[in-house]
């Protein structure tokens, strides 16, 4: 919403400076977005007289002008404008002036051998219009030496405010002035509207043709004919006012409606009565009806739209835009002026469907003052009579004005309760009254009725806001919020929240870089990872490849790894800890911790090195990450099963599922399946893991923080090594467990310290070397006892795996 200072002063008697007004506007909630003062930027441009303009000796298209700037000796200026001539008045800028339209700072110059000491300017060079056909041609009586901006009325500051959707009343200058007056910036002086008595009945009738349940679409409609008008250009003051806020003057009748829109937040419509056939009917559009609107576009309408029609058909889109066919132009002699009320929701929906953003729609969808429906028509009529002449008919009125707002039962104490600020009743009442509220009653509780233009005010809290914004928010004192109980804070994070944040730190400590990728991915990618259901597909995605809620963090991370590789960073280790979606229910949203390693991005180092190049990553690197993560999170892994074979995204032979029992799957790790890589247009080597943090077993609740007692043995541990030859398919982890189970009390550790396939071991078999540590508890073991344990291990290995000791 834009207006000029002088326009504001039509409604507000004030001596406040622009800066003070701007400050007050922001303070009361009409946030100032810009204050533009052309006069400041155009200070150096003055009115000058061309004493003589003669042909440039060396250039056909240039003239050499002797210019009286009103300050001392005449100045010589070389000018290329075709309209430069002896005796004209124009605008001069001396060397050193910044020329906004050209974005240059003017210097002294010699043009084709002739000295030039300044410039005569076009309107485009001053950025006051598009006109660059020639230099500004001012009337004979323009005062030489005076600043041009002040002369041209450009010293009127243009203020632009952002109006929040609840403050429809501030979409008119009069409403803005009311707020400023209430805030103590001056006296509101908006003149009262005198009713216009018509001298003949309006020849055009109006009917509201709605079914009972649609009556709200047009509560009221007022119409009047003014006959015998002259619709030429509007007077200069009106044109200047509209231009200052960026509107294009069209003709007096249209300009008057625009003025009413911005001055009083009262959009009107004018029809050329000669182009209207019969009476006007306000109704829903019939499907398929069309209208050529004033923006030059044809709109196809549906039942959603409310229209004003005559015997020809649709003439106007109610509350949004008029029709071209019945528009007013210079030939208009009889004009029909409409002032109506429309349903804000319908206007909003209808305007959105048609894609029309008009000043009228903007106001009607926020709500205009219903009580100003008829006064608005009277005010416009009076202005038409004044500017265009003619004779006004009586007003036709259909429908009924809505009932006035109910009073609000308001205890003054509500202000202190919600804000902590203590104000006197007198000050609070003054603020409300100045804003047009009616306060009835006395004492602690009063009844406050909002004015007709404040449909947004409906309760006590709204009144508190009104009082507060006028009193000033800065008067609310900062007050420490007391702690609920005690001084030392109790922990607030849940187990999952702690695990989520710890997982990030743990994975970063493993040399991985945290990414945050989109929650939505391409449909095909979602399907590859078990997603892509209809329930999780967006109806209006922002892009085709951001259409489905992600079932896994991997597709996003794989794409990220590939784009890093494409930029020359192929050895990347990325992770993300974030939400994945298995259904559209709250419980279907899980927290996943997912990481991948690409190229040679191993934990111990990346790429080539003088000490030996890092090997390409393999699935066990991902296993190390996931095991490190579980250990760091303090998840007891005693019951964790690592089952060969992972989900569909993984290489079937180089992946595993992590589970606490068959129903307790918590994640997986492995090499990414070549088919998945291909589908995602990515290249490996690429290994990954994914853990569902919410599926992990919870730590056991313990009554004490005391750790279990530490029992240390005083006896030396003994280690015995065994190398077994087994089939390639035998799992080393199983062998470890078997060895461990040979004597659960005595064996404290079983390590796999060598793995060998090749020469000396027959094809299809492998050598697995185990180091078994025995920890005696009560006494040193005898050689015989140690031998006995070893023998048991060998027997078990042979029985279970057909293992033979390597010779």
């Amino acid at each position: 919403m834009k207006f000029t200072l002088s326009w504001l002063k039509e409604h507000l008697d004030t001596t406040a400076t622009v800066d003070a007004i701007a400050e007050a506007l922001t303070r009361v909630g009409l946030e100032v977005e810009a204050v533009e003062n052309k006069a400041k930027a155009l200070q150096a441009f003055t009115i000058a007289s061309v004493i003589e303009a003669r042909q440039h000796p060396n250039a056909d298209r240039l003239r050499v002008c002797l210019v009286d700037t009103g300050a001392g000796e005449p100045v010589q200026v070389v000018c290329g404008a075709p309209n430069a001539r002896t005796g004209m008045k124009s605008v001069f800028s001396p060397p050193g002036t910044y020329i906004p339209g050209k974005d240059i700072t003017l210097g002294k110059g010699v043009i084709r051998g002739v000295e030039s000491n300044g410039m005569l300017c076009s309107a485009a060079e001053l950025q006051i219009s598009e006109d660059h056909d020639g230099i500004i041609d001012l009337p004979e009586d323009a005062p030489v030496g005076q600043p041009y901006a002040a002369y041209a009325g450009l010293d009127d500051a243009v203020i632009e405010i952002a109006v929040t959707p609840n403050r429809a009343d501030a979409l008119g200058v009069a409403g803005v002035a009311r707020d400023l007056a209430a805030a103590g910036l001056g006296r509101l002086k908006t003149p009262a509207v005198a009713p216009v008595a018509g001298s003949f009945p309006c020849p055009v009738g109006v009917s509201l043709d709605f079914a009972e349940q649609d009556r709200h679409l047009c509560p009221a409609f007022a119409l009047r004919l003014v006959r015998g008008v002259r619709n030429g250009p509007s007077p200069d003051w009106l044109q200047a006012r509209l231009r200052a806020i960026g509107l294009r003057p069209i003709n007096a009748l249209v300009d008057i409606t625009n003025l009413m829109t911005f001055d009083r937040n009262r959009p009107l419509h004018v029809f050329d009565a000669a182009k209207v056939r019969g009476d006007l009917v306000v109704r829903r559009a019939q499907p398929g009806e069309e209208i050529l609107a004033l923006d030059g576009k044809t709109y196809r309408l549906g039942e959603e739209q409310v229209v004003i029609a005559d015997a020809h058909g649709v003439e106007s889109l109610a509350g949004i835009m008029g029709g071209e066919a019945s528009g007013c132009d210079e030939g208009t002699v009889d004009v029909l002026v409409e002032s109506a009320l429309w349903d804000p929701l319908n206007i909003a929906r209808s305007g959105r469907m048609l894609g029309i953003n008009s000043d009228a729609r903007y106001r009607f969808e926020r709500g205009v003052d219903p009580a100003f429906c008829q006064p608005g028509l009277d005010l416009a009529t009076a202005m038409i009579l004044e500017l265009c002449g003619g004779e006004a008919s009586e007003m036709v009125f259909a429908g009924a004005l809505p009932a006035a707002a109910e009073p609000i039962d308001f205890p003054w104490s509500e202000v202190k309760r919600l804000t902590g600020l203590e104000l006197s009743q007198a000050e609070m009442e003054q603020a409300l009254t100045a804003l047009g509220f009616t306060v009835a009653g006395q004492g602690e509780r009063v009844r406050v009725t909002p004015p007709s233009w404040r449909a947004d005010v409906g309760g006590k809290a709204d009144l508190v806001e009104e009082i507060l914004r006028i009193a000033g928010l800065d008067r609310v004192a900062s007050t420490p919020l007391p702690r609920i109980k005690g001084e030392v804070i109790k922990p607030v994070l849940t187990v999952l929240q702690k695990r989520t944040r710890l997982a990030k730190r743990l994975l970063a400590s493993r040399g991985m870089v945290e990414a945050v990728t989109w929650s939505f991915i391409a449909h095909e990618a979602a399907k590859l990872f078990g997603g892509g259901s209809d329930a999780l597909a967006l109806a209006n995605p922002i892009a085709a490849d951001l259409s489905d809620m992600r079932p896994s963090l991997l597709p996003g991370l794989i794409a990220a790894a590939q784009s890093n590789a494409d930029r020359g960073h192929g050895d990347v280790a990325l992770f993300e800890v974030g939400q994945i979606f298995t259904s559209d229910q709250p419980a279907g949203q899980l927290m996943a911790a997912t990481g991948l390693r690409r190229g040679s991005a191993r934990i111990e180092g990346v790429g080539r090195h003088w000490d030996g190049a890092a090997k390409p990553v393999d699935a066990l690197d991902a296993k190390a990450d996931v095991m490190g993560l579980l250990a760091g999170l303090g998840v007891p892994v005693g019951g964790l099963q690592i089952v060969a074979g992972g989900p569909a995204w993984a290489h079937p032979g180089r992946s595993a599922t992590l589970q606490f029992g068959p129903k307790g799957v918590v994640g997986a790790f492995g090499e990414v399946h070549p088919k998945v890589l291909k589908a995602l247009d990515a290249k490996g080597p690429l290994v990954a893991f994914e853990i569902h943090l919410d599926a992990l077993p919870l730590p056991k609740a313990r009554p004490t923080k005391v750790k279990p007692k530490l029992a240390l043995s005083g006896f030396q541990p003994v280690t015995r090594d065994f190398a077994f030859i087994v089939d390639r398919a035998v799992a080393a982890g199983e062998m470890q467990k078997t060895a461990q189970n040979a004597d659960r009390a005595l064996i404290s550790d079983v390590a796999v310290f060598d793995l060998y396939e090749g020469q000396g071991v027959e094809p299809g078999r492998k050598s697995v070397a185990l180091a078994v540590t025995l920890q005696p508890v009560e006494r040193t073991l005898t050689e015989a006892e140690i031998e006995a344990v070893g023998a048991k291990i060998i027997v078990e290995m042979a029985r279970r795996y057909g293992a033979a000791l390597r010779g």
Binding site: R27, G29, N166, P344, L345, A348, R349, E365, R417, L418, T419, L421, G459, A461, D462, V464, E465, L468, R469, L473, D474, A477, S478, T479, P480, R483, V492, L493, R501, K504, A508, V513, E514, A515, V516, T517, S519, A535, L538, A539, N540, I542, L546, M549, G556, L557, N564, H569, A573, V577, G578, Q579, F581, D584, Q585, P586, Q589, V606, H609, W610
Partner: protein, 360 residues
């Protein structure tokens, strides 16, 4: 000179000139071994008369002691020299680069870091962290928050929708974290103090908007929380978060459907050469919206607005991260470019705490 003296001189001479430990050992065996020269002398003592023994004994024993001491001293000297020689030959190039360890390569995303910072500050004020689903119902995202059905305010949110389900219900991606406030009020009796950080979505993309972004909201509900408390919390938060001693804030009346009165908050700053600094200058920068929880919202959550009252605020996590750490553009936050993450990310153990400072 006696035979003993001669032997002593000769042995000490040999010891002094022994070139290495092996030569020294040969000398020792030749003198003190079973068949050694000094051992032979010692053996003669047994056949001597007491008087002879009294005279020769100390001489022979003295010789043995001197030779033993000399052997030991020479052995030490040789060992020392050998170590010197070994050390002199053992040199590495200490300038050879070592592999960069994982702690040097790993990074935490600025969003995670800033969420941890926010949690540290509000955690100290007794706020719990509440979370809710990204896929929300229209009811919780809009209706209960006092956005009437069909109201233009809904349009301001550029909502992502899912297709209607079999019951005709159309789920959406939450456009703000405010539905978490509603879920909290529905699940828990006051007093309530929570912050709700999380992902939010709007169908909007340009230089300063991404279709996904992060918000944190705060909610306080009890029987006395008022706007003065809200002001204090936000001032304390800004000082603590931006790590400055003083902050000047401007509260402007504004509008949100779910608060009344509503305010927007600007923070005073200076802008020099593209860098924003808080606590100085005379520019204002909008950083958050807030207000007293609207009576309709309280009612929609089963709370009597004449008994309970409170306030809420919300701000963009990505945005305050940009303001504090100077990222010029929002979009790279979600592009996972390791160069950006290495530069703007945080080291794995940069744990924000109030005692140790939020940033290092």
């Amino acid at each position: 000179m006696s035979e003993i003296d001669n032997l002593g001189v000769s042995l000490l001479d040999d010891i002094a000139s022994a070139a290495d430990e092996a030569a020294l050992e040969q000398i020792r065996i030749a003198a003190l071994g079973k068949a050694g020269s000094i051992s032979a002398l010692l053996k003669t003592l047994g056949a001597m008369t007491p008087d002879e023994r009294k005279e020769k004994g100390p001489l022979i024993n003295g010789l043995r002691d001197r030779v033993q001491a000399a052997l030991l001293a020479r052995k030490e000297a040789l060992g020392e020299a050998a170590l010197e020689a070994r050390l002199a030959s053992e040199r590495i190039d200490v300038t050879l680069p070592v592999r960069e360890g994982p702690e040097a390569r790993g990074r935490i995303h600025p969003i995670s870091q800033v969420i941890d910072e926010i949690t540290a500050i509000f955690g100290d004020m007794g706020f719990a962290v509440a979370e809710g689903p990204d896929v929300e119902t229209d009811d919780l995202n809009f209706t209960r928050l006092n956005f009437p059905v069909g109201h233009p305010a809904r349009e301001m949110h550029d909502t992502f929708f899912f297709a209607p389900d079999s019951q005709g219900e159309r789920k959406l991606l939450r456009t703000h974290t405010s539905p978490v406030q509603v879920r909290t009020m529905l699940a828990q009796q006051p007093p309530i103090r929570v912050i709700c950080p999380g992902r939010t979505y709007r169908n909007d993309s340009d230089q300063t908007h991404t279709p996904m972004f992060h918000q944190v909201e705060g909610l306080v509900i009890d029987k006395s929380a008022h706007m003065g408390h809200l002001k204090w919390i936000l001032e304390e938060f800004c000082k603590s978060f931006f790590e400055i001693d003083d902050v000047k804030m401007r509260f402007r009346p504004s509008f949100f459907p779910f608060t009344e009165p509503s305010m927007e908050v600007d923070i005073q700053c200076s802008r020099k050469g593209g860098e924003i600094r808080f606590g100085e200058g005379d520019d204002w920068l909008e950083i958050l919206g807030c207000g007293m929880v609207h009576p309709n919202v309280l009612r929609n959550c089963g709370l009597d607005p004449d008994v309970y009252q409170g306030f809420a605020w919300g701000m963009g996590i990505d945005r305050i991260a940009m303001l504090k750490y100077g990222m010029p553009d929002l979009r790279p936050f979600f592009e996972a470019d390791v160069r950006w993450l290495q530069h703007y990310g945080f080291r794995p153990l940069d744990l924000p705490t109030l005692t140790g400072g939020l940033s290092s």
